[in-house]
Amino acid sequence: MSATRVAPRSVSAEARVDSAVLPAWWRLYPSRVVTFWLVELRKIRHDRSELYLRAVQPVLWLLIFGETFSHLHAIPTPKGIGYLAYLSPGIMAQSALFIAIFFGIQIIWERDSGILTKLMATPTPRLALISGKAFAAGVRSLAQVVVILVLSVLLQVHFDWNPLDLLGVALFVVLGAAFFSCLSMTIAGIVLHRERLMGVGQAINMPLFFASNALYPVRVMPGWPQGLSAANPMSYEVDALRGLLLGTPSAMLLDLGVLVLAVTVGIAASASLLPRLAR
């Protein structure tokens, strides 16, 4: 076994290396995001058990909570739309939230195991690294979309099956998951320990979910949770998903704007905290 094949680049050439070896940023960023997507897909392929286990919770929400509240008629829904149909987009967003909000644990694990420092020593800008991780969380949450769509067929929920709308659904779910994973990675950058991140994650999970329009229309809430909901990207995500899947009136462009802004701020915030994790 000879090492000759790891051929040397001549040392004098090294001295002259310049910025020409680096791809332009507009090629580099998408390339890194795709790389982390592909890696995430490989990991899912190697171990599908998490995928199946993650599917249990949204199924239970729809079957138990959804069926029960459909019968109660306790929650006002738009005309002609049953509660189960109304709830499904909410659960779609919620299951993506639950996956993403603990994504910071992965980055703390990668930090403790040295993977993160090694990634950071490659020509990958901090922003690209975080973007890659954030959209990898999006990949995982897309699996939830599929689960809920399949289930809704079984439960005879009537969705708008326009392929373009479904693409829109994928986009919004990925954006939502990207934002919440950035939130999680930002918290990871502040608390630095898995246990604390778990605690904070649990604590903010609840208000993110309940102070939103995922389970009920915002107008049935008292005043101050309504305020929380207006500041909660989750509500904008659910609004868009309902519009796409059920055709309810929604502020699609506003929703998109808020989510894109939230993801941008989230990526910047967690990237700025990354050096803390690298120490």
Binding site: V11, A15, L28, V39, H46, S113, K118, M120, A121
Partner: protein, 278 residues
Amino acid sequence: MAPAGGGLARIALPVDCSELQVSFGAVRAVDGISFHIEPGEVFALLGPNGAGKTTTIRVLTTLITPDSGRATVFGHDVRRAAMLVRHLIGYLPQQLSADFQLSGYENVWLFARLFDLPRREREGRVREVLAVMGLDDVRDRLVRTYSGGMIRRLELAQALVNRPALLVLDEPTIGLDPLARADVWERVRTLRQETGMAVLLTTHYMEEADVLSDRVALMHHCRFRAEGTPANLKSALGPGATLDDVFRHHVGAAIEDEELSGGGRDVRNTRRTAQRLG
């Protein structure tokens, strides 16, 4: 020591540091060290846990920025040209850093992508470094089934996939059994002989520094205590002296306390690595 600028053509040194200082809050981690590495040279930073070796490496791999002083890699400033510096180095961190959820091939493939190897070269290069590290047969197995020595070799393959001009090895054989350790040494020596790349390594094994390096620097309490070739350092102390003796002479009995008190995270990482190795 530093090459005279005068008659020599300006060949950028693999590493050139002057008056490097790093603090974490009130804690000083590196206190004004200066050194350089010649082309093709193997340079070892030797010292107890918490001496500042890993911090020095983190500066040179652009993971942290120094508070003051200057550090360049092949003439590129680690602060201003971090992306270029990263392009030129292969880095093996102290912890076992391969991703256990991926196969050996995927681990190296990830780094081939992160170093922007052209698509048509990527697969060939990944297979090539895996073959050089003797991981041909196991490349499609998940890393969690690898032995400690195999994981270390895989990490070397990851560090080599971009054909680095400077290889940075942080405690390359920590937690390995003697056979696996000798194997890593052999591979580093072969690589260095056949590629001419410069190597910076840290270790607290005297034998490792003696076997592998052209020059060593003894680091203790954030500073260099001695620097030179292993032979010179030994002969300066008298006939029959080992590098162990040199170390004891320069660092002294303080090392015992240092091991106990210094660098809690260092020690924890070491243990964790040992644990993962099983």
